[in-house]
């Protein structure tokens, strides 16, 4: 695709990841990585269940919801019955399949994705309120987490012309 020359290009994205399902976390990670790859500054703020993505014990074990997800289909495009999604092991199987499909596209596991984003200068923060709520300390979180901060602190990092805040 031809890129239009933007006269007033985007300079910074501040991405808030508040959910912990595979697709929510990866949407945030892809956007942050895509930004630094284009020379756009990226700052990420993980809150509520999004914290799973930067919690050492959980980050590589994310799941996708198989219940109440109308977009979910079986291989071949047949609708995925919600009742099936309730069976033990189904969610794990579907999650494993999603991870495999992403790996085939060279999309890395969460910990490696954070390595890539921070290698490009992206910054990772955790939400203080959510960390307190889930009783998480800095040592429970990825070494890439710069600090546990309040949303006010994060807004303070979100200033400047041509900055966008993205919520997923």
């Amino acid at each position: 695709m031809t890129e239009k020359k933007e006269e007033n290009p985007l300079k910074k994205v501040c991405i808030i990841c508040a959910k912990g399902a595979i697709e929510d976390v990866y949407a945030s990670l892809v956007m942050a990585n895509g930004a630094v790859m284009e020379g756009i500054e990226a700052k990420m703020f993980f809150t509520f269940f999004g914290l799973d993505a930067i919690t050492k014990k959980k980050m590589n074990r994310l799941h996708t919801g198989t219940v109440g997800n109308p977009a979910m289909t079986m291989p071949g495009g047949i609708p995925f019955p919600t009742l099936l999604g309730m069976l033990p092991g189904v969610e794990a199987g579907v999650s494993a399949m999603m991870k495999k499909q992403m790996a085939d596209l060279d999309i890395p596991p969460v910990d490696e994705f954070l390595d890539m984003i921070t290698a490009g200068g992206g910054e990772i923060y955790a939400c203080k309120l959510a960390a307190d709520m889930f009783k998480l300390k800095k040592e429970d979180l990825s070494e890439h987490v710069i600090d546990i901060i309040t949303i006010g602190d994060f807004y303070a990092l979100a200033g400047g012309d041509n900055t966008q805040i993205i919520f997923t």
């Binding site: 031809t2 060279d106 490009g120």
Partner: protein
């Protein structure tokens, strides 16, 4: 499709300045293309460019992750070599099409 005179050679480029015929590429062209991106071309840059060209020829979809695992340079090093566009700028300098991957 346009042609552009780079380092004394007439090469085919698209409107974003990416070369459309990788076989026209030479190291002298790479040096000129690098200059346009404010990069002083070194052997390190050339190693990456040659790797990208080889992979492109094989039909590989290139990602910064793949380059990071090539053993030539890690991802941090790749950002240092090609600031503000590790895959785009390196591809441009390597004379291959603009990358289509999001990672």
């Amino acid at each position: 499709m346009a042609t552009k005179n780079i380092a004394g050679i007439s090469v085919d480029v698209n409107d974003e300045g990416y070369m459309t015929n990788p076989s026209q590429w030479t190291e002298a062209i790479a040096k000129e293309l690098a200059k346009e991106e404010d990069i002083e071309l070194t052997d390190e840059h050339l190693k990456v460019a040659k790797y990208l060209r080889e992979e492109h020829e094989k039909g590989t979809v290139l990602t910064i992750r793949k380059v990071g695992k090539s053993g030539l340079v890690d991802i941090k090093g790749l950002y240092k070599l090609f600031p503000g566009g590790p895959l785009k700028k390196s591809s441009k300098i390597a004379g291959i099409p603009k990358p289509t991957s999001c990672v």
